[in-house]
Amino acid sequence: MKLPIMFVIYPEKNVLCFCSTTRTSGSSGTVTIKCKDLRVFQLDIPGMEQCLNIAHSIEALSSLDCASEMYPFFYRPQDLSLKNQWGLSNPVKDFAQLGESQDKWRLSEVNKDYSVCPSYPPVVIVPSAIDDDTLKKSARFRQGGRFPVLCYYHRKNGMVIMRSGQSLAGANGKRCIEDELLLQAVIDDSDKGYIIDTRSSQQAQQARMTGGGLDLKSNYSCWSRLHRQMERGKVLQESLIKLVEACEDQSHSVDRWLSKLENSKWLSHVQTALKTAGLLAECVERDGHSVLVHGSNGTDNTLLISSLAQLIVDPHCRTLEGFLTLIDREWVQAGHPFQKRCAHSAYSHARLTQEAPVFLLFLDCVWQLWHQFPLALGFSEALLLKIAKDVYASNYGNFLCNSDQERCALGVKERTHCLFQALMRPKEREHNSNPLYEPTELAIWPSTYPQSLQLWRALFFRWTQHFRQLEEAQEEIRNLVIQCCSARQNTERKHT
């Protein structure tokens, strides 16, 4: 068992490393390790053969294909037990949140053996008027079997956010009565709803040529379509690669930096995501209509904007626990293919066509909210940074595999520990909470003006002295809050 030993020696560092390059001269060599958390190490190793061996081992061990050989299966800290509760999201609990609307919705186990939709969890919430057969037919009409399911219920006005994959109308404009019924059941007869498509209408039309497409307006008369083009996959990945390159540029020219920053387009993607999520939130919160979100697969941008919109409108999602639950429900359970998307981070080869930093983009958008509303979110920047690291390489099993089905097959829930539970342990909790948190029931509308959006320096310049000073400031804030509390407490005790 060579593998766990390697990891036990340097658990954090080795798991993260991705690519190493070797340079040898004479009797010694240099190994450069570029980590997925954007750190770069250089090891000078005496002995050429030794150096090559080490490089080779690191290379092999850092790109394991088989999830069951990964570190979470060997991580056994003393203070965690495998019998602890796993995960946070729970459809039954979510259903209970529906309150008086419970009769309009129901829990369906149509997917309990993952046969209807391989990327969905076994239990989903759907309109109560729709039976499982109808769901199955609707699933056949949706990309990846992702039929429309409830993902958020807005208690204030009873409106909902649904999500799905694209409809498979194809070039001939096929229709599916069951799918239409399903959507009709979401809204009352007199009402109308919006479909937010994360593609431009041109892209959606083009998708029809390959069997996909859009829900035709004539068939879904109560639903209006809004197209918002969001970049996907390769474009996002290239954007991240360019941004990280720009951040590593040693030149001292401001012009060069700004032009590289612009050229990476990362902040444009952040802006688009926040704008689209804002639109979705606006439809639900202010306009009072239900919305269905989808793109093509419904596993990337769909999840990005539906989860961001929930942060904007739902105060519960802004607590530490609520936020982790949101990630669990809207990303992990909802079937974002983490293993494909987050395998190699910014230092990746071009051949990795599935790699895409959608989840990182989500965290960046959350950070923008955190930055614009420093009091409204219950979690800390440190938590976001921790998750950004764990999504690429973790001691915990949450981000392994691509779907619930795959995780079940590997026994992830039985054989690994749960990150979300670990982050909420009492000793971690303080560090992961925002000391300035002040809950508000109001929606937090982000500004999407370019001046308001900032590069997330703590992530992209995590390993500079600069970041240390910002951390000190956070510590100082924490201390101030503690001081104030203890003063309050002392006075209160005094008075009683």
Binding site: Y194, S224, C247, S251, H252, S253, V254, D255, W257, L258, S259, L261, E262, K265, L267, K275, T276, G278, L279, E282, C283, R286, D287, H289, H371, Q372, F373, P374, L375, P435, L436, Y437, E438, L442, I444, P446, S447, T448, Y449, P450, Q451, S452, L453, Q469, L470, E472, A473, E476, I477, L480, V481, Q483, C484, C485, S486, A487, R488, N490, T491, K494
Partner: protein, 649 residues
């Protein structure tokens, strides 16, 4: 006032550019001797917008539109106020009045000479002696056996733009000083600005030598030799020419230039490459234009930021300061700094170096002292650079703006190192332009003395000092590791950001709606207060019981039940939507076509709470155009109501 043709115009509409919903309010416009005042008609709010005439940079009159004549006021604090006046005649009158009023021709027209913050003579004199430069020199340990006070410039004989009291190397004889002054542009001979006690190295400043291609001056060479000798720890000095080398070389053709290393022994020349005032002026204009773009894309914005070159210039200034600070603190080498005349770039470089070198200049009072020394006393031409009087537009340049921004960039990098917050820097910026106090008036000490400003005006420093609780950075702690010692900033390009607080401070949507610093300040105050109270209680009980009782302090998790006013609530977005005029209105949901009437239910806190930082005397910042909350009690500048008296009669 003879320049006011129409003192009052009714039914004027004020367009709030900062508000994306483009909120329009109807009201009455008044022109007073000192201010433009807009009073909203809405009887519930009666919101007032005050603009000091001198804060108006230019008045633009775009073509008349069917609903009236437009007037755009662009202010020196980067606010933009757009007015719609029903009658074209009125608009023309207001335009010509404002054009004249915003460009005073003589000092006597300036606000500070009529401004009377109800202080008596003693208080005024006290306000002027609040900042004492000789005390600061004493603090840094001069005079000593290396540096001594010279009377060479008493009565401004040698150099009319220098202060009368200066510190020079002890070994420099009066003859050497005179000779050196003759060989330096405008007589600005090398003088001490900062002495670093830890290494005994110093920062000195002067103007360029009048060397031309081959000229030399024995006295000046002696002078630099003396500067070097005043630092026992080093056998050479750095001469930092803050200009780009090409510019310095070009100056040689005009009989000026830079030190020839063949003639001056033991100097090391170093060029920094800060551009001249003309480049800076147009660069700032570009960055203002970037801020004014209506709906820029991210690419537009970043491209605008890049092509303005502004951050590049800020970096150059900070690099200059960092170079000097490193030489003085780490190498222990004295630095002599100059540019052309030694009153713009030199002031920037020296003062940034001081901020980096000495924690004192990172305190509220310390920054005042620093500006008083390196800028005011050393003859930075405030009145020319910040166009206090109608004059040559080529003389105008945001030199001090750049220094303040460097300090701001540093405070972003070292959040715990500065005693003051951004608001303090912005207040200084405003007062540099507002001429409400005499502190920044004139171009040199001599001019200020001749104007008898100390008798006729008030000092801004003591006023700002009184307001210091508003300017305090809650994260500052005198014993923090960031606070003590020399700051070593990272000047990588990515460390520089657009200073939103200054350039977009009128743009509510662009600044964070929640301020952690306000919240923390409140907390800090509260805990101080509580602890004081506890101490008093304890004393009382001790007195009653006859024996001391102590409560051990406990650290408890913070409660979240307390309510606080500082919460700047969310705004409804309109950024996600299409313009109101979108032809596709019907197709899109209702919220796309109407953003105003849906605003109310979800955002009762949609507007900023009144800024605490407003100082009641400073009407130029009182007019909070962007605020939806009318808090007239805190806004009406009680100090000069009688004085302004809405001179409508």
């Amino acid at each position: 006032m003879e320049h006011i043709r129409t003192p009052k115009v009714e039914h004027v509409r004020l367009l709030d550019r900062s508000c994306p919903g483009r909120k329009i309010s109807v009201g009455t416009l008044y022109l007073s001797a000192t201010h433009t005042i807009f009073v909203e008609n809405n009887p519930e709010t009666r919101k007032e917008t005050w603009v000091l005439h001198i804060m108006v940079n230019n008045v633009e009159r775009p073509p008349t539109i069917p609903t009236g004549s437009q007037l755009i006021l662009r202010c020196k604090d980067f606010r933009v106020i757009q007015l719609l006046i029903p009658q074209e005649r009125d608009c023309m009158d207001v335009h010509s009045s404002l054009t004249r009023l915003s460009r005073p021709e003589s000092y006597s027209e300036l606000y500070c000479l009529s401004f009377n913050p109800s202080l008596n003579k003693e208080e005024r004199e006290e306000s002027w002696s609040f900042i004492d430069l000789s005390a600061d020199y004493k603090r840094m340990g001069v005079p000593n056996n290396l540096w001594s006070l010279t009377t060479a410039n008493s009565e401004y004989r040698l150099c009319d733009s220098y202060p009368s009291e200066l510190f020079v190397p002890k070994s420099a004889t009066p003859a050497v000083i005179v000779g050196s002054a003759r060989f330096r542009s405008r007589g600005r001979f090398p003088a001490l600005t900062y002495f670093h006690q830890d290494t005994l190295a110093a920062v000195c400043r002067c103007s360029q030598p009048l060397s031309g291609f081959s000229g030399r001056c024995h006295d000046d060479e002696q002078m630099l030799q003396a500067v070097m000798k005043s630092n026992p720890g080093s056998d050479y000095i750095y001469v930092v020419d803050t200009r780009p080398k090409l510019n310095a070389m070009a100056n040689r053709a005009a009989g000026k230039g830079y030190e020839n290393e063949d003639h001056y022994t033991n100097i090391r020349l170093h060029f920094i490459g800060i551009e001249n005032i003309h480049v800076m002026r147009s660069s700032q204009q570009k960055i203002i234009d970037v801020g004014e773009m209506r709906t820029p894309s991210m690419a537009d914005f970043l491209w605008g930021l890049e092509s303005s070159g502004w951050l590049k210039h800020i970096k150059a200034v900070l690099d200059a300061g960092a170079f000097i600070a490193k030489a003085v603190a780490e190498e222990g080498v004295t630095v002599l700094v100059h540019c052309s005349d030694g009153w713009d770039r030199t002031a920037q470089a020296c003062s940034v170096a001081s901020v980096l070198l000495d924690p004192y200049y990172r305190t509220i009072k310390g920054l005042m002292v620093l500006i008083e020394r390196d800028w005011i006393s050393f003859g930075h031409k405030f009145s020319h650079r910040y166009s206090h009087l109608d004059g040559d537009p080529k003389e105008v340049s945001p030199v001090l703006d750049q220094f303040l921004e460097c300090v701001w960039q540093l405070s972003e990098q070292f959040p715990c190192a500065f005693e003051f917050n951004e608001r303090f820097l912005i207040s200084i910026h405003t007062h540099v332009y507002s001429c409400q106090y005499g502190t920044f008036l004139g171009n040199c000490q001599k001019e200020r003395r001749d104007l008898r400003l100390r008798e006729r005006t008030h000092s801004v420093w003591s006023h700002l000092w009184k307001e210091r609780s508003e300017f305090t950075n809650p994260l500052y702690r005198a014993d923090h590791s960031q606070t003590t010692g020399v700051l070593r900033p990272n000047t990588s390009p990515y460390c520089f950001k657009l200073w939103k607080g200054l350039y977009n401070h009128a743009d509510k949507t662009a600044t964070p709606r929640q301020s952690p610093s306000e919240c923390l300040s409140a907390m800090r105050e509260e805990s101080q207060h509580l602890e004081d109270e506890l101490a008093i209680q304890q004393e009382r009980i001790t007195a009653l019981m006859g024996k001391p009782i102590t409560w051990e302090k406990r650290t408890v998790p913070r409660k979240t039940s307390q309510s606080r006013e500082g919460w700047g609530g969310p705004d409804p977005p309109s950024t996600y939507t299409y313009p109101v005029t979108s032809p596709a209105q019907n197709y899109y949901p209702a919220f796309l076509s109407d953003s105003t009437n849906q605003r109310a239910p979800t955002s009762p806190l949609g507007s900023k709470p009144p800024m605490k930082g407003h100082d009641p005397d400073d009407t130029s910042t009182c007019s909070d155009v962007e605020s939806g909350v009318a808090d007239l009690s805190s806004r009406s500048p009680s100090g000069e109501v009688s004085e302004v008296s809405l001179s409508t009669a």
